[in-house]
Symmetry: C2
Subunit: 422 residues, 2 copies
């Protein structure tokens, strides 16, 4: 890995795939076909893209029972425990509706209401991640969403992966459909005979899924469009190079465009980590993915002071940040931009990816400057409540009417004066 | 207005202007020109579109002082009082960062951090609304955003409207630039010599502004893309037709595509309101806007029961909802989808538009199903905090590594095992 002295112009080398014109056209066509063709279009696209002709999209109870037979009991227990940890953490985010009452009788507040329905996309094939099911479904359920729908492309055997079905069942999904790609997003947004439309779609997917989500956005809500994964490790001389190298590689194995960065105040640690990465990379099963990620997007920055190192992290605004320093917890006040902050050497990133409870759906590509991890708020909306009392109204009516006229909106003033005894 | 018995297939007749291909191409060109040309491009576009050649974009202290001389003291006082009410309501939304501590030493939580910088777009010309300045700026300020920038297109005299400048000063804006249109959005997103880039852009604008916001989204955050304004009044026989008519017209005067709807359990009220609307419309200054809005998008729905009426409102998911019924406050539990809920006859919508404190930037076009009014959360982000203790790590390391291997991610398992004494 290259070692660079921190300077003014730091930013992650990032890459987002926003698709080609041709891909965008394909996605538009698919969405149009699903809108007009309904289930029939879904069967046809599934045959074309997933190489299997289905007669029903719905996953049956029997299929779920079968999945439980395939997955070892010990694994089911781990999935249950992870789901429970995620549930506990997200329940702490729940907010009440609230109201203020004033002496003059006025009441103002916010009513917090869960969305009616949410669709969760779960990728198929080699990228079938039960953890992704848990991380998307549990927050929606904690938020109080009544209808949570899962969609995922079937294998050529017409089935979904057993681990994904177990995770769906354990997190409380009651509606699962075997359909993927842009056609699944179109079905969730606009509905077909089998699949009623939802209000929001979350979950990761390939470029066609991402483009379809962007296309239906506005008609339904979507979560973020995720870029390749990123980790930044902020470390001083107390950290161990072999552990940091392992963490950098755990991101790098996700994607050849994943971004693994170390920011450190210790040149010694920088050099040791660089050589550890080479050593561990050589014996990694997914080294064909990790090696180009490290070569093209990896970097080690050396800073003069802890403050300079932290400010470098803020410029990077990484998805994942590990802080492995003396008094690490005391550093978070100055950290402004990071999706998730892992504190200390025992908070290696996979602790959060699978198990601790906080969400692993995190802002990538610098959007941690303005975005948050997936959370309960994403599945609820707030409505303002305004109950002006007669007394408050009479005290303020003239002022409100005057403000309306200042903006040239006479009917607004008259709406006030229709109630006002001068 | 047409009177319709409630049936199954109810939805607002809505209209969103998503621009023509030509408009989209113009916006892309403008953004490209600002990226490469900087301030010079801004001066050129301002000359072309706003018909004034500026030598500086920055609004000076002298210009603000002059604005205060133009605006009557009584008006300044109303703006101050409105700003204060908005501040008080939004301060109640503030949330603390939080952390949980477990017996095994683990700490988990969310760090709440304001965005570094926000840009507020304020439309020019006839649509220059000081209330819009307050509603966009105050929540950002309450959230703790350090840098709040305002942009607005100058008039042909090279000035901004005095009311807008006073509202900006009263809500605490310290950086104001005389630039509008897509070029202003490009400057906020990518920066020029005079204008440093921001992290999020909010505020309403014409179709070019809306398209530019959509174009820069992802590089920066944006608020919603607003459609035409909407009001739904939910009323029973205790409501007064003349007041409801005034309220329906207060929306209709905004836009020929604004949507004014009454949902009522009283056919008598329906008929009286229809005739009151005609009567009041005839003497309204902005009747040329309001009349087509009422004709094309207005409707009165008659329901058999209160529950049926409320369910009709939920199908409409209106931006503004007035509830003028017996025991109105007791109805809000069943109301799931509305941007702002105005309770009782003294909570006429303009009370909220200008003065009460809740935000007037609200979800339109049915997005109240999944979106919220502009609020303090929109100007903060949350970062997850994960500090696993050594004890927690040792208890769970084997499970986490197993989960990683279940998903085929060996480097994730090794990141755990690098720390784990088996």
């Amino acid at each position: 890995m290259k070692i660079i002295q921190v300077n003014e112009d730091i930013s992650l080398k990032r890459s987002v795939d926003s698709g080609t014109e041709e891909q965008r056209a394909i996605v538009k066509d698919i969405i149009g076909a699903v809108k007009s063709g309904g289930d029939q279009a879904l069967f046809d696209f599934t045959e074309k893209f997933d190489r299997v002709r289905l007669s029903s999209l719905t996953v049956t109870d029997a299929e779920i029972e079968e999945a439980y037979k395939e997955v070892p009991n010990a694994t089911v227990e781990i999935i249950k425990e992870a789901a429970e940890n995620i549930r506990v953490f997200h329940e702490k985010q729940l907010r009440n509706s609230w109201i203020t009452t004033e002496k003059n009788g006025t009441m103002l507040g916010q009513k917090v209401t869960p969305l009616d329905s949410v669709g969760v996309y779960v990728p198929g094939g080699t990228a079938a991640y039960p953890s992704s099911v848990l991380m998307n479904v549990v927050p929606a359920q904690v938020a109080g969403v009544e209808r949570i729908v899962m969609v995922s492309p079937p294998g050529q055997d017409g089935k979904l992966p057993a681990g994904v079905l177990v995770a769906a069942k354990e997190s409380g999904v009651k509606e699962i459909y075997k359909v993927g790609g842009a056609q699944a997003i179109a079905a969730l947004a606009y509905g077909t005979e089998s699949i009623k439309p939802v209000d929001k779609i979350t979950g990761p997917g390939n470029i066609f899924v991402a483009l379809a989500k962007r296309e239906v956005f506005g008609d339904v809500d979507i979560d973020m469009i995720a870029g390749p994964s990123e980790i930044t490790v902020l470390a001083d001389e107390t950290a161990r190079a072999n552990e940091i190298a392992a963490d950098l590689l755990s991101q790098a194995e996700h994607d050849a465009r994943a971004c693994s960065v170390l920011v450190t105040t210790s040149r010694k640690l920088a050099e040791e980590t660089a050589s550890e990465v080479e050593k561990q990379l050589a014996v990694l099963p997914r080294k064909e993915i990790a090696a180009p990620a490290i070569a093209d997007y990896g970097a080690i920055y050396v800073a003069e002071t802890v403050d300079e190192a932290i400010e470098t992290v803020n410029k990077l605004a990484p998805e994942h940040l590990e802080v492995i320093m003396e008094n690490a917890m005391e550093k978070i006040g100055k950290i402004r931009h990071a999706g998730a902050i892992f504190i200390g050497r025992y908070s290696s990133e996979p602790v959060g990816d699978y198990f601790a409870g906080p969400n692993h759906v995190l802002p990538t590509n610098g959007t941690a400057r303005f975005s948050s991890p997936l959370n309960v708020d994403d599945f609820q909306k707030k409505s303002s409540i305004i109950m002006y009392s007669e007394q408050a109204f009479n005290e303020n009516a003239a002022k409100i009417a005057a403000f309306a006229r200042l903006e040239g909106l006479e009917a607004h003033a008259r709406s006030i004066e229709a109630r006002f005894k001068k």
